[in-house]
């Protein structure tokens, strides 16, 4: 099987080949390493790759197959990890100079669980410094570039993970999400991503940005794959008391149709989008409707106020965590990150609590909305990925910063703690991917993935791949 064809398969498909001995873990890891070598110069997706160790683990995985040993659900599957997850055998820097010469010990619970399931950790992915931004242009390792057009951003802060999956370097990667950092690069790079319900996946060993919003989760080629990975990552962790509080309600059950599913399509202020994005979203909604889903338009007041309160909370929490680093190594932060941290430390306790108070009020409204519909639907992003260096975007009669354009819808799931999935649903007028977002009830993560999987049975956007050619962006046909 050719390297290229392996780079398009899902985890489920690769696992089947491995178990049937039609593929070896060594060949799969070599294929992954070859794709990284091809696309790293143009995408800058990785900050560290451990080829020797990955190959060594692949050979051990093949020996286990040969000896008929019990295999984990990710046996022999190469996985990339965002650079803010602690990994025992690779450095963790949060893509910041602050940590470049400060080795951090230990391993994140999610990484340990993936290893126990048989995954091979192939490397660490580039990210927006400290996850404190949504463009992935600010990193001690340089910006990542979108595999669909390398003149454009990947979105962030898990941009390296997004580029690595989209370019076929790995079938799945881990990200973290405080205001959209899994879903933004997933949408911008044309892959599938989930921000789980707050507390479902342990954050132990994931460097925080804002602990009342932070979630860890997977990014991959299909909703079915994400359900598999989520099952491995989720569950109580003695290191994180809150992780025991929320349980997932059900597992992925293949659907024959969307009949009986009532979806609320969010409208009004806060949900404006560019014309080409709107056109793509309307087509996706037609697919859902024709499969039996009932779509109802819903207004959600307070989006602008909520977006502001989310920013206040994030700035205050981030600055509290970074206080010792700011005291010792302020000059090692990128200016744009340091500005946010210096501002956040000036907020008062009452400022922070006022924002949390509004959060309680706003979230009650959203939870009430979800008693009348099964899920809320929005575009993941109001625009396709901006160009690198583009500081502002214009759409729907408004001009805002690229940073705000990336987060102005996605913050909603972090503020409410609800699960949210993004699936690729088409391309904009510039040929860059558009994502459709589904927001579900507490603990309904698998249910959302179930709807997403049905959408991916009806469409093949998740199978679309960019064609990268050593720095020359040559977008593949959808």
């Amino acid at each position: 099987m050719s390297t290229h064809s392996l780079s398009t398969l899902t985890v489920s498909e690769l696992s089947t080949l491995l178990r049937r001995k039609q593929l070896t873990a060594e060949d799969l890891v070599r294929s992954s390493l070859a794709e990284i070598e091809r696309h790293q110069p143009t995408t800058n997706a990785f900050v560290a790759v451990d080829a020797d160790r990955a190959l060594e683990q692949a050979k051990l995985a093949d020996q286990a197959v040969a000896h008929g040993l019990s295999l984990g659900p990710l046996h022999g599957i190469p996985v990339a990890i965002k650079d803010n997850y602690l990994t025992a055998d690779l450095p963790t820097t949060a893509s910041s100079r602050v940590l470049k010469d400060r080795p951090l010990g230990g391993e994140a619970t999610s990484v340990a669980r993936l290893r126990e399931a048989g995954a091979i950790i192939i490397g660490k992915t580039n990210m927006h410094e400290w996850a404190y931004g949504a463009t992935n242009e600010v990193s001690a390792f340089g910006p990542t570039r979108n595999p669909w057009n390398t003149d454009h951003i990947t979105g962030g802060s898990s941009g390296g993970s997004g580029a690595a999956v989209a370019a076929g370097m790995v079938p799945v990667a881990l990200g973290s999400d405080t205001g959209g950092s899994i879903r933004i690069p997933s949408a911008a790079c044309g892959i599938t991503g989930i921000k789980p319900t707050l507390g479902v996946v342990s954050r132990h060993g994931v460097l925080p940005l804002s602990w009342s919003f932070d979630c860890a989760g997977p990014m991959g080629r299909s909703a079915e794959d994400l359900a598999l990975i989520l099952k491995i990552m989720s569950g109580p962790d003695v290191n994180v008391p809150a992780s025991a509080r929320v349980r997932l309600t059900e597992e992925l059950l293949p659907r024959r149709s969307l009949k009986g599913v009532r979806l609320g399509v969010l409208q009004g202020p806060g949900f404006e989008r560019a014309d080409d994005v709107d056109h793509t979203i309307q087509n996706a909604l037609s697919v859902l409707r024709e499969d039996g889903a009932e779509l109802v338009e819903i207004n959600l007041p307070g989006m602008s106020v909520g977006f502001g309160a989310w920013k206040v909370i994030m700035h205050a929490e981030a600055s509290a965590y970074h206080r010792p680093f700011l005291d010792e190594r302020a000059g090692d932060y990128a200016d744009s990150v340091r500005i946010q941290l210096e501002a956040g430390r000036c907020l008062s306790a009452t400022d922070y609590l006022a924002a949390q108070q509004y959060r309680a009020v706003f979230n009650r409204e959203v939870y009430d909305l979800l008693s009348s519909v099964s899920a809320l639907v929005t575009p993941t992003l109001p625009v396709t990925a901006p160009r690198l260096g583009q500081s502002r975007v214009t759409y729907g009669g408004r001009e805002i910063t690229s940073q705000d354009a990336m987060t102005c819808i996605t913050w909603l799931a972090n503020f409410t703690g609800l699960p949210a999935v993004t699936v690729p649903c088409g391309v904009g007028s510039n040929g860059l991917p558009v994502g459709l977002a589904l927001h579900g009830r507490v603990g309904a993560d698998y249910w959302l993935l179930d709807i997403a999987a049905r959408f991916q049975m009806l469409t093949d956007w998740h199978r679309s791949r960019p064609t990268l050619n050593n720095g020359v962006s040559d977008r593949g046909s959808p």
Binding site: L198, V246, V312, H315, A355, Q356, Q357, A360
Partner: protein, 64 residues
């Protein structure tokens, strides 16, 4: 309203090192944005307990 003087006074009082002019300008601008965000919070929210930031489970919602 934040100004460079107000920022400098707070930083001096807190024992934080001085910021250069460009950074100070950017920090002041961001603080004024955040202050506008805070001012937009409706007064009704001020009587709300901040509570837990974890979303409620269905059984908790049902018993509320």
């Amino acid at each position: 309203m934040w100004t460079k003087d107000r920022l400098k006074a707070l930083r001096d009082h807190s024992g934080w090192p001085p910021l250069d002019d460009d950074l100070s300008d950017a920090v002041v601008a961001l603080l004024n944005d955040l202050e506008r965000d805070l001012a937009a919070i409706p007064s009704a929210a001020w009587a709300e307990p901040a509570g837990s930031f974890l979303p409620p489970r269905d059984d908790e919602r049902a018993s509320a």
